[in-house]
Symmetry: C2
Subunit: 354 residues, 2 copies
DNA sequence: GTGAAAGCGCTAACAG
DNA sequence: CTGTTAGCGCTTTCAC
């Protein structure tokens, strides 16, 4: 390949206007100390010549790289892609992240990293050295991975921790798992349900615990027991199947179930069908995540939407703010989650004893 | 933010081994003229010190940027993301593209570009100037956009054109739309169908025509007429609905329909249901694209899979090869598409007149 | 084979 | 407010 050089550089612009490189640089970076009139002339020349600064050169001279890295778990992400079940986590990340980045002239690069590996740190440092990103977005389970967090803190790179409450390093930003679970549970209670089961997610993810907490809070405030109504899964279909089976085999089975992932909810739906129960008439179901497939079931499933796009968008904002040296929120940033009502919830049946 | 500098540079490595920067550079780039023994020592130091070359610096000094841009249509992509219908085009791109890139030390950056816009060229040149990518992957409908193609050709950047047959510029690479349509049609004919309808996609996309061609070829080779059996849609659900309605209202309605998008197939399924027809018993259906939702319908839909991941992976390979100056394929590269058999095809009913 | 010098496009630090 | 100087980390070109 022919060696490609920048078509029009800062030098061309400077020459065109008859000022120094520095002045052009100041205009590009919107720095003070340029007369408005001059600034305008420079801006005009930039537009006219179609000048766009080279990110590489900007980075080289010690300024920003205008690159933000979004770190996802390699195994889970690739598995999702291959499975083609419609999981759109990455798409929603891009929707929220890319667009916000674009507003500020940044780009987002998706990077896959193994959480469970002795060379996480090497991988991470490699990516940082190669790309010199201005900030990094951590997604679960990376967000609470001590190795990653420590490494990033040492590197002094602004980073957001999606799905983390930790306040020691980086910028925690939460999709309101607990609040969402509270709302979902209250929603069911308002419909007359008293026995509400919970199929929890993997304990590897902190959010699993928060969802349980929310359910417990809402049950407690209504004076309802939760004793035998909690079953742990690991987000997978198989685990949801087991949990649903156990729940429905209870002497006093639940009339509603909240499951901590779409796959587990799908499993519960199928278990109910096989048990001859009609959803929502005999059993109400609320899911967590609200991936696209929730619209393709019969009935469509009511679900708590994970506001991924909004969260990543906010994370980008925070990183750019941090990068500018602006003051950051003291507390954990919380993005509200909403309940998307579809057809899997109805009033509780009249029960004999309640 | 504190000004971050590379932790360990080529200089550190050179000093550590006691050689010049040049030698280290040669080792990094796997260039000749380094004694094996020396090369080994340098390599060892690189590993030990955890050295990773800065892409920015590499780019600056006129070499590769190790960046490949994947250009998608802005409106369609954002619409898909927002609709959350499970369309996983971007995911499959990343699956094929990112992983292949990673093998060669490249990164892939997704970029959204408006096709219909007078400033496509400005947008494109801006991205190129900013990122200095080593190659660009065009997806439909960009692949046949003359403005974009001309612009890229001028820039001398290697680029792949997914879904294009054009041999003038860039590297065309095709998912075998016509062949897939032939196969799908033959598949139906083998099951006894004689009246096979086709719901075509938007004429803005060349692949719509190729799919029609394939259907016609297979019909012709079986001596079957196609006269009133073709109806054009534009990939959307609404257009599929209209086409299906028209097809089923025919004096001699088709016993099978091939539709050029999943949305249109979904529409056909629904139209059939409303008309009191059972799929596949009364009407067989084959879809194009095979997005995740095809598994969530009742019955599951037989579909032609678009080998997006394989295609993008190949595109990356070709770009990297081009970049190295290797010779490129003369002809259009064709990636075969496969028919995923599910539950929407059965033998043709016995027809009164056939 | 290996090394030294020059420069990529830009910004930081300092002058004026 | 504006310009000059130096240098980021690397590869190119050309000496040795």
């Amino acid at each position: 390949m022919a060696r490609r050089r920048q078509a029009v550089t800062i030098r061309h612009v400077a020459a065109d206007v008859g000022v120094s490189l520095q002045t052009v640089s100041r205009v590009i970076n919107n720095e003070p100390n340029v007369r408005p009139e001059l600034k305008e002339r420079v801006q005009e020349a930039i537009t006219r010549l179609g000048y766009v600064p080279s990110i590489a050169a900007q980075r080289m001279s010690g300024s920003r790289s205008y690159l933000i890295l979004a770190l996802n778990d390699r195994d889970r992400t690739i598995a999702d892609w291959r499975a083609r079940q419609g999981t759109d986590w990455v798409d929603q990340m891009l929707l929220g992240g890319m667009l916000k980045c674009a507003e500020h002239g940044y780009r987002m690069i998706v990077e896959l990293v193994d959480t469970h590996s002795d060379h996480v740190e090497r991988e991470l440092l490699g990516a940082i050295a190669a790309l010199q990103p201005d900030g990094i977005i951590l997604t679960p389970p990376h967000s609470d991975n001590p190795q990653i967090v420590r490494c990033l803190a040492q590197q002094q790179i602004p980073f957001a921790r999606i799905g983390s409450k930790a306040q020691d390093e980086g910028m925690p930003i939460l999709m309101d798992d607990e609040g969402a679970a509270v709302n979902a549970t209250r929603h069911l209670i308002a419909r007359g349900h008293r026995r509400i089961g919970m199929i929890a997610g993997s304990a590897d993810y902190n959010l699993s615990g928060w969802r349980i907490d929310g359910w417990k809070v809402a049950m407690a405030e209504a004076g309802l027991p939760t004793d035998d109504l909690l079953h742990a899964g690991d987000f997978t279909y198989a685990s949801g199947e087991r949990a649903a089976l156990a729940l429905l085999a209870l002497p006093a089975p639940p009339t509603a179930i909240i499951a901590s992932s779409d796959q587990m909810t799908l499993a519960a739906l199928e278990v109910a069908r096989k048990a001859g129960l009609t959803v929502p008439h005999d059993l109400s179901l609320i899911s967590f995540d609200n991936t696209p497939m929730m619209q393709f079931t019969q009935p469509q499933l009511t679900a708590i939407d994970q506001p991924i796009a909004a969260t990543v968008s906010k994370a980008v904002e925070m990183i750019i703010a941090a990068q500018k040296g602006e003051s950051l929120p003291e507390a954990v940033t919380v993005i509200p989650a909403t309940l998307v009502e579809r057809g899997s919830v109805s009033d509780a049946r009249q029960t004999v004893s309640a």
